[in-house]
Symmetry: C2
Amino acid sequence: MEEKNIKKPKRKKRCVSCRKPAEINVTVPFCAPCFIKHFDRRVERVVKKNKLAMAGDKILMAVSAGKDSLSCAHVLSKMRQERGFMLGVLHMDVGILECTSERSENVVREFCRERDIPFHFIRFREYLGADIVRIANSRRRTECSVCGAFKRYALNRFARENGYNKLATGHCADDIVRFFFKNWLAHNFSWIAKSKPMTLSNHPLVVSRIRPLFETTEAENLAYTKANNIVVAGCSRCSYFLRNDKWNDIFRVIDEKDRLFKIEFARGLEMAEFKVSDPNRVLNGCRICGEPTDKEMCVVCRLKGNKADDDQIEDTTVVEGD
Amino acid sequence: MEEKNIKKPKRKKRCVSCRKPAEINVTVPFCAPCFIKHFDRRVERVVKKNKLAMAGDKILMAVSAGKDSLSCAHVLSKMRQERGFMLGVLHMDVGILECTSERSENVVREFCRERDIPFHFIRFREYLGADIVRIANSRRRTECSVCGAFKRYALNRFARENGYNKLATGHCADDIVRFFFKNWLAHNFSWIAKSKPMTLSNHPLVVSRIRPLFETTEAENLAYTKANNIVVAGCSRCSYFLRNDKWNDIFRVIDEKDRLFKIEFARGLEMAEFKVSDPNRVLNGCRICGEPTDKEMCVVCRLKGNKADDDQIEDTTVVEGD
């Protein structure tokens, strides 16, 4: 009787791979080295399966200094020699006080120096001649929506002008699933149809997009940066913990009930094929700047005030950016 | 200062339509008569938009005596004269003690008598010569999965044999959304592609399926039966409140955050078009009973033990039943 009542000390979880004590438990328990291997292999499978990075490719990775883009850049930098592609990094000062700092610039610069990755840096004020905050105020739009449009524009233009044939972003399963739900409810199936690990260029001015973290979650990316001692200095405004809409609560419950849901859901999205009426709209060069657009003028030129007409301000030429 | 501290008495919510005190608040507040009108109109829109019930149609509605199928039969019965279709009801004794009772048979019989709807009744033991419980035990399958396969078979055969050209089930937005998630994660996109308000017959032996409650939720159906004083005697096992998997918790949170989510999601499913490799598989007659199947023998004959081979017991010829 007495023996029955003696509680066994709570056993420490062990790594599912090597049985050493587990240090990381995002989906299943892992020690740090096994977690890194597991993470690398998952990203590598996505890269191979979808031909994201091939010999001879010149890939520009957009790095904000956050956990997602730094994790992605780290895996790609480890992969580049074996797979024979070249990797460059672009960091952007978007000109919003809370989102850009000398610290994030230095974090990315140092990250690249350590790994011998060419580092590029642009300021929206100089590169695009645009002040996001002023434009957002005058157009009565949120800074984030204006910033998103300018980032997509700048990334594509910079990559093309600098001889890169692919543009990598740190979009992960969380972004993919969130994007799916928002657009499913808005019946934007043509946008969902393009939500794949790779969006191939459909115009000479458009650079192909790749999303190597399609099958990893934000929580895994965070654990990956910690396990690799990668210094992170992300934008606080767009951060995981501060994004405060109803989807956060919903995904928190889903995560509790099924830790693999977002990964499995994103895998479904890789395989699902939608019939859409406008998979590739006809693109032209913007009459002001020459950048690709399906309207007369691109969204950046319109927002910069080259035309008073605000009716059709949405421009989805390049799928949502980092 | 004092006035500020005096709490106003909590104002009773008012019907969004007629401003009388609200009695029902599932999605938005309604008085009972306005809720009934609103519900009827929503179902009517689905029926018209998808041509579910046309002049001259003979529609057989499968009614279990639960809130969903009774709500559906009630709306269809109100609609039949104006739209010029004929409605019949089929109630089945599936032979599982907790799921069938004389009470549920009498509830459906009385429901039909009051509305002058032809009432049909079959017992699986006689109609199919099958004992679900014994088959489930000997095949080591759950009773619910065996029952589902037999129901789909019996519904299709009975409708066809009795001259009905359409088969209506009480599937509602909750079922549709749950079905979507389970099959998305299992990559069964061809099943999802068929999840529409109508599945047209793809073989002379297959009766077209209609789902008039595609855009209403279980909670709304329950409120609708109450508002109409419809006596319900549903199967307790499959009931909303007892279905106890992880999706229940997830959908509860989603409902709290967005009361229209399931309806909006189902509407998305109506509009989304999937590219699937096997939208219409080749169907033959089962070599034992002649019913449609994409194998040599239909699932019912295989489960009844006409063949020892259990390898391919799944048969999805007729999409999941009520």
